[in-house]
Assembly symmetry: C2
Homo-oligomer: 362 residues x 2
């Protein structure tokens, strides 16, 4: 990114050669990004992150929207803003029910939006089955000469680098990605939409991004995103396998030490690097504080929600008790995690839990 | 910016101490930015650039909008999108007429938007006089128990570092700034609004920026913006004086060489580092190409418009002939300009013009 923040700072729309070189670098970065998800560069709209992408997707849609109760706030708030939406409840395992989504689809439904992986529980959602439902509904409409479109959107920000994010294999019509979740820069993201989807600009001006999202392009950011995404996609299989082992060991370590720990999220359908554990009766905020002193950095729920001190809507949606929710830790493993640090992290969690139980006389 | 792109990459909403340190750095950067324009940090909404800020301002407003014909595309397109707007024509000197704006204000007008300095001509607009008009209209409404608000918005992106951008002295109610115009990062900007203005969120999600603009904060970008803005504001007077001399010398150099060169934009009300020259009958695109080979980088109009090969709406608005517009160069001087390079640049322009005239037999 640094060359584009320093010497190659030109506005990619400027007419002289050094600016054209910057434009070329920007286009090449978009090509790399497109290739990584099996798409074409001119189907991408580069945005300031997943939240903007989600809002652009929802803002482009008229008609009825179906989504799930465990979506990220950006999806739930965009659906609320959209007005005409159905929020489908989710079972105890934190996996969206294909049947429930299918039942919520009406003849007026134009968008179904389900994240590839839940950001708190790490549960991987049955996107290809949802895509199948959408295809059937599309066929039904075609047979009835009904021209109402219906699209599947997925925010895959949470899954990149651990799951396949090829748009054709996912079966989605719109895809949201975020650079910040894969060691790329913050405030950089994209909305992919196949060429049949008519997006509607939300920001007006100089006409960048095919007129769909005006503003001088974030050259450095998009270049950074392209490198981060390429690495994440290329290294995915090995990294997923590595993280799965680390996570399984950690889960084993914690459940061996405390038999009443709750592991949430479908055990077979989880992000490999993700572990959601609850110690009912304990205060997760205090655990985080104790762990931090041992350089173990954990969150309770999603960062935005955690910051507001509100209880996670995801844990409420899967029917977890308040006591369980308040004692919940969301553990994300990643590039910085290895066998030694994860084992030490597990030991630190066990010590912190023991300390808190003692303090509370439990 | 680099520490926040590398080691201090934490989400500022995460609960652990290293993330809180990132949050503090973000808040401090906003404090620095606020101080630089005489505002409070909690009156700022950090955005992905001036275009988004302008769209946020316009999207927050119901009622009638008044703006000028020489505004940036972002303002004109946002006004168009807004629907209820009057575009006030501008005289030959490229300065917005206070009387024309006053005449366009109706009892339903809620927003007047005029850029501090025009991005093509460099002309500085009479913002404090416009503020006076708005104050009078506000008083008139108050006297009539009319609660319809009226605000003055200005995109000052083009003026920072050369003009005073203190919000109180400008007399504005809303101000747009952009980091990329002052050697800061691209896709970083802000909308300032005084606490009486009710902004309306355009992007929904995690509730960042007081719920007005969701999305994980651009920590590195905002830190970069704060440094760039502080430097621009602190160095303004000396830099403006330095640039004015360089620009005046360049203007003298060009007008001495070619008596029929047109210098556009009010001579007394221009950005000190800005020079707009036209060589009627010549093709500016060819001049730019010739100059580029001598490492002199110039644009024809605004980058976004130039890129689309359309004639500048600004030059059309001030009544310039097509021949003049097509032979126009927009010369911006800045940190990299000094006496030697500007004189050499002037010589290169003179040579390029001579070459083109010869080629065309003029």
């Amino acid at each position: 990114m640094q060359p584009f923040q320093r010497d190659h700072f030109f506005n990619p729309s400027s007419p002289y050669a050094p600016a054209l070189a910057v434009r070329r670098a920007y286009q090449e970065a978009k090509d790399v990004i497109a290739r990584a998800i099996g798409a074409k560069a001119d189907e991408l709209v580069m945005t300031a992150g997943a939240t903007e992408s989600i809002n652009l997707a929802f803002g482009s849609i008229d008609g009825h929207v179906v989504t799930s109760a465990i979506e990220h706030h950006a999806v739930l708030r965009a659906a609320e803003q959209h007005g005409n939406s159905t929020i489908v409840p989710v079972g105890k395992k934190g996996v969206v029910s294909v049947e429930a989504i299918a039942a919520a689809i009406t003849p007026a439904t134009t968008l179904v939006s389900v994240a590839l992986a839940n950001n708190e529980l790490g549960t991987v959602q049955p996107l290809s089955k949802l895509a199948e439902i959408i295809r059937k509904e599309r066929q039904r409409r075609r047979d009835n000469n009904d021209l109402t479109p219906i699209y599947l959107h997925s925010d895959a920000s949470q899954g990149v680098g651990q799951l396949d994010v090829n748009v054709a294999r996912l079966g989605v019509d719109l895809l949201t990605l975020n650079a910040g979740k894969i060691y790329g820069p913050k405030q950089v993201g994209l909305l992919w939409a196949h060429s049949g989807v008519r997006l509607r600009a939300q920001v007006f001006g100089g006409g960048q991004e095919r007129g769909l999202r005006s503003g001088t392009e974030n050259v450095a950011g998009v270049v950074g995103f392209s490198v981060a995404l390429e690495r994440a996609v290329n290294g995915r299989k090995a990294e997923a396998e590595r993280l799965r082992k680390l996570r399984d060991n950690l889960q084993e370590q914690l459940t061996s030490a405390y038999s009443n720990v709750i592991i949430s999220g479908d055990q077979k359908r989880r992000l490999p690097g993700h572990l959601h554990v609850s110690f009912p009766g304990l205060d997760a905020e205090r655990l985080i504080f104790l762990l931090e002193m041992e350089n173990v950095l954990l969150a309770t729920g999603s960062a935005c929600a955690a910051n507001k001190g509100t209880r996670s809507h995801v844990l409420t949606a899967i029917g977890m008790s308040d006591e369980g929710a308040d004692g919940s830790l969301r553990i994300s493993l990643g590039h910085l995690s290895d066998e030694v640090t994860v084992r030490q992290g597990g030991e630190a969690i066990i010590r912190a839990v023991a300390k808190e139980r003692e303090r509370m006389g439990r």
